[in-house]
C-alpha cells in the first residue's frame, strides 16, 4: 500500500484547463502528421513519459480499454492508471489505447483496426520513443501540405497499415514532453 500512495500524485491539478490545452496540442499533432508538439500536466511514474501520461489523462477513461505493453506494465503504472484514469487493462487484441515502446507493442497486427462499417473502432497506439526529430522517413497525405519527415521506428508496418485504409490503427509518438501524430491516412516512404 505504500507504493500506491505515490500513485495519487502526478495527475492534472486543474483538469478542465490542462486537458483542454493538451488536447489542442494532440489535435494539432494528429491533424498535421509529423509536427512535433509539446504537452504537459501529467507526472506519471516511470517508465511513462510526460507526454504519454498526459495523452492518457486527456483521452482514456473508464470507458476505454487500455493495454500496457512491456515495461509500461508495472505496478506503479497500473496503480497510477487505476487512480487517475480508471481504464480497464486488457490484452492488446481488445485495447482502445496501448502504451509502450515500439518493440514492446510488436507485433502491432494484434491491435484492432476497426470494422469496414465502423473504421473508427480501432486502437490508438501511444509509442514511447527516445526522441522526436523531423528527420527520417518521408510523410505525405492529409494534414501535410507537401511532405514532411519524422524519425519513425520503421516504415514497413506503417505502409502496411496505410494499405488497410480506411481501416488501421492510429499512432501517437511520445518522447519526454514531446508528441507527434501519425494517423492511418499518412503515406510513409523510406528515404
Amino acid at each position: 500500500m505504500i507504493a500506491a500512495a505515490d500513485a495519487l500524485e502526478g495527475g492534472f491539478t486543474e483538469a478542465p484547463i490542462q486537458s483542454a490545452r493538451a488536447f489542442r496540442e494532440i489535435l494539432e499533432a494528429m491533424a498535421r502528421p509529423g509536427t512535433i508538439r509539446q504537452v504537459q500536466g501529467a507526472r506519471p511514474p516511470e517508465p511513462l513519459s510526460i507526454a504519454a501520461g498526459t495523452a492518457l489523462l486527456v483521452l482514456a477513461d473508464p470507458t476505454t480499454r487500455l493495454h500496457l505493453a512491456g515495461r509500461a506494465d508495472c505496478a506503479p503504472v497500473r496503480d497510477w492508471v487505476a487512480f487517475h484514469i480508471g481504464a480497464p487493462l486488457t490484452p492488446a487484441e481488445e485495447a482502445d489505447f496501448a502504451v509502450g515502446t515500439w518493440e514492446a507493442l510488436h507485433p502491432v497486427s494484434r491491435f484492432r483496426i476497426g470494422q469496414p462499417d465502423y473504421p473508427d473502432r480501432s486502437a490508438t497506439l501511444i509509442v514511447e520513443v527516445d526522441r522526436l526529430v523531423n528527420h527520417g522517413p518521408c510523410l505525405t497525405g492529409p494534414g501535410i501540405e507537401t511532405a514532411t519527415w519524422l524519425n519513425l521506428p520503421e516504415t514497413a508496418t506503417f505502409r502496411a497499415n496505410r494499405a488497410l485504409f480506411p481501416l488501421g490503427f492510429d499512432t501517437l509518438f511520445t518522447a519526454g514532453d514531446r508528441i507527434a501524430g501519425l494517423p492511418r491516412s499518412t503515406r510513409v516512404e523510406a528515404i
Binding site: A15, P16, I17, S19, A20, R21, F23, R24, I26, L27, E28, M30, A31, R32, V58, L59, A60, D61, T63, T64, P116, D117, Y118, P119, D120, S122, T124, G141, P142, G143, I144, E145, F165, P166, D170, P183, R184, S185
Partner: protein, 291 residues
C-alpha cells in the same frame, strides 16, 4: 447568473471532463479517417437541437482559455444564433471573442466559410443538421453505412444526373456533396456550393458536429475535397450575378435583401466581417455610404 464573462459555477467550457474525452476521441478518429462520420454520444445542451448543438459540443471540446472565438450564422456575426452561442462561451469558458476572421483562433460557423482565407492554427467548427449525404436518397442508416463501406456512391451521381435531366444543370446549390481524398463522400453541411472550393486544401483544421444526429467528422489541413460532377457538366461555384451593394465586392457570396414592398432589393455580402473590413478600407458599393 447574468454576470457575462464570468465562469460562475460552470466547469471550463460547460461540458464535464468525461463528455469532453468522449468527444475528443471522436474528433481524433475523424481526423484520422477524413470524411468518415464518427458516432458520438451527443449531450443535451442548454439550447434546442437545430441551434448548433453539435458545433457547440465540438467547440467546447476544443476551446482553451487562450482562444479567441468567432461565431457566425450564415456569415453574419450579429444574428441571433451567433450572438447566443458567443455569449454562451463567454459565460461558460470566459474566452475572448472577436468578429474579425483574422484574429480568431476558433471559428464556429453555421452554413458559411469566411471569405477571408483561413490560416494554420485556426479551427473551423461547422454546425451540421444532416451529416449523411446519402440520407435523402436512402433513409435507412444500415444501408447508408454499407454504401460508405463499399464506396457505393452511384446513387449520388444518379441524383446529380437527374438534376441535369430535369433542369439542364446540377440544381444542388448548397450542401453540395464532396469526395474526400478519393474515398468518403461527405456532406459539407449546408454551405453554399460557392464555398466548396474553400474546403479543399485549407490550412485550417475543419471539424463538423451534428448534435441531433450524433456524428462528428473532420477534414485535416491540406485535405483534398472534390465536388462531385460530370466531365460534361463540371462543378461551378455559383453566386448571385451582382456586386455587393455596400462594399462593391465582386467575388464574395451575396445575400438578397428585400428593401420595400415595391420589389426593390439589394445584394450584400453574407460575410459581415469581410464587408465591414472592405468598407473600412474605403470600398463602397451602389448603396453604400463611404465609411
Amino acid at each position: 447568473m447574468s454576470d457575462l464573462g464570468s465562469q460562475g459555477d460552470y466547469t471550463f467550457a460547460y461540458l464535464d471532463e468525461q463528455t469532453k474525452r468522449m468527444i475528443r476521441r471522436a474528433i481524433l478518429k475523424g481526423i484520422a479517417i477524413p470524411g468518415y462520420q464518427v458516432p458520438f454520444a451527443s449531450r443535451e445542451m442548454p439550447m434546442p437541437y437545430g441551434w448548433g448543438t453539435g458545433g457547440v459540443q465540438v467547440t467546447a471540446a476544443c476551446l482553451t482559455p487562450e482562444d479567441r472565438l468567432k461565431v457566425i450564422d450564415q456569415g453574419a456575426d450579429d444574428t441571433t444564433n451567433a450572438v447566443s452561442i458567443r455569449r454562451f462561451f463567454q459565460r461558460t469558458a470566459g474566452v475572448a471573442v472577436t468578429e474579425a476572421t483574422t484574429e480568431a483562433t476558433v471559428i464556429q460557423t453555421r452554413h458559411r466559410i469566411p471569405e477571408t482565407p483561413l490560416r494554420e492554427g485556426q479551427v473551423l467548427v461547422y454546425q451540421v443538421p444532416i451529416p449523411e449525404p446519402l440520407r435523402f436518397l436512402e433513409p435507412r442508416e444500415t444501408e447508408t453505412r454499407k454504401m460508405h463501406e463499399l464506396e457505393e456512391y452511384g446513387l449520388m451521381h444518379v441524383k446529380l444526373y437527374e438534376d441535369i435531366a430535369r433542369h439542364g444543370q446540377i440544381a444542388t446549390s448548397y450542401a453540395y456533396p464532396v469526395k474526400i481524398e478519393g474515398r468518403y463522400v461527405m456532406d459539407p453541411s449546408p454551405i453554399p456550393k460557392f464555398d466548396n472550393p474553400k474546403l479543399s486544401g485549407n490550412p485550417a483544421i475543419q471539424l463538423f458536429g451534428a448534435g441531433r444526429e450524433q456524428r462528428i467528422y473532420a477534414l485535416p489541413p491540406w485535405t483534398e475535397a472534390v465536388s462531385l460532377d460530370f466531365e460534361d457538366h463540371p462543378f461551378t461555384a455559383s453566386k448571385a450575378p451582382h456586386d455587393c451593394d455596400l462594399c462593391g465586392a465582386r467575388d464574395s457570396y451575396l445575400d438578397e435583401v428585400i428593401t420595400d414592398d415595391a420589389g426593390r432589393r439589394m445584394f450584400v455580402c453574407s460575410d459581415t466581417d469581410f464587408c465591414a473590413g472592405r468598407r473600412a478600407k474605403g470600398h463602397t458599393g451602389r448603396l453604400g455610404d463611404p465609411a
